[in-house]
Symmetry: C2
Subunit: 204 residues, 2 copies
């Protein structure tokens, strides 16, 4: 692996573990056993590293959010949400720091906002096709509020779960998925609510 890439991977690891503001360029270079000067040969600033990592995240999450066409079964939703949560976990420093990140980098505010909009759009799409298929029983107002709650929960579940347990426990992804589906469940038919319970016992 080229040095440039090694720097990015190590930064991601350290940002996630310690939070971006607590990771110095010196720490990154130390951990990689290269000189700080070398790091600055590859990146002109610490922000530069951050922006590059954000671009990674943006691409991965963006790609995921393209596909939610024809996701109808609870199991498909479970799987889809799990992929979303994995991506969030992979770049959790962004989520833990959002408010600061967007305050300090206007460009990130715009781009992160675009992702949030895409998430809302994806959930709306799924909910509307569920309604069309008469599997979901909800008014338009209810769907709108539900949509916001889904995205909000997906966005901050991991931050929330860190509050109780210092470490990120293994099952907290599955738990997040379960929480999101619980939001939709009361609007579903009996059959699908039972299916959710099965999934719960299987994964939690």
């Amino acid at each position: 692996m080229k040095t440039r890439e090694r720097i990015l991977y190590k930064s991601l690891e350290l940002f996630n573990e310690l939070g971006e503001p607590n990771v110095t360029t010196l720490l990154i270079s130390d951990e990689l056993e290269i000189s700080p000067g070398n790091l600055y040969y590859h990146f002109k600033s610490k922000s530069d590293i951050l922006i590059n990592l954000f671009a990674w995240y943006e691409n991965e999450m963006g790609a995921l959010l393209e596909v939610p066409d024809g996701i109808l079964d609870i199991e498909d939703q479970w799987f889809f949400l799990h992929l979303i949560f994995e991506t969030i976990a992979k770049y959790r420093f962004i989520y833990n720091d959002v408010v600061h990140l967007i305050k300090q980098h206007e460009s990130i505010r715009v781009r992160f906002n675009r992702i949030v909009k895409k998430k809302q759009h994806a959930s709306l799409k799924i909910l509307k096709s569920l309604k069309k298929e008469e599997r979901l029983n909800a008014t338009d107002d209810e769907i709108e509020a539900l949509c916001e709650n889904i995205v909000q929960t997906a966005t901050f579940w991991l931050s929330y779960s860190v509050l109780s347990d210092a470490q990120l426990p293994d099952d907290s992804l599955a738990r997040g998925v379960y929480q999101v589906i619980s939001l939709v469940a009361p609007f579903l038919g009996k059959e699908q609510r039972d299916q959710l319970n099965e999934l719960k016992t299987a994964y939690l």
Copy 2:
């Protein structure tokens, strides 16, 4: 107002506006037109200021969470939640920074966690009495998941709403209250769902 108090109020204001890590002791003293030395006469460190503000928050939120006995009507819930959201808004630097705050101050982790537990306990209490009165129709599993979602939404709604709008808009508190009640609504009877819609048109 004594200098000590003025420092705390100004710090709270600046922490909320800029985020705690971006507020220096020099900035605080500048804004108050006192010397940095004077600030350090009253507080032995920046953390010391933070811990004091956290204690304020802890007291106010703790007091609020003592009372949710006999809250049954949607309107009472609306009012109660509004008080909660106001307190969160007042100390929003804590919520925007939770993950860092608890990583850097173990004592805050424990204390914030205690508040979260109290919040869960309060919602559980309300939900259980609603069920007992047969106004709420949900299984124990559903109530448990609902409870988590309520607290999660209440905790991070403000951070979430900052993502789309740079400023905190006036109605975002009411919007947060509405989102939380929307979580409960599908488990309520028709009469109370209508009541929620009335409240929505009244406040949003």
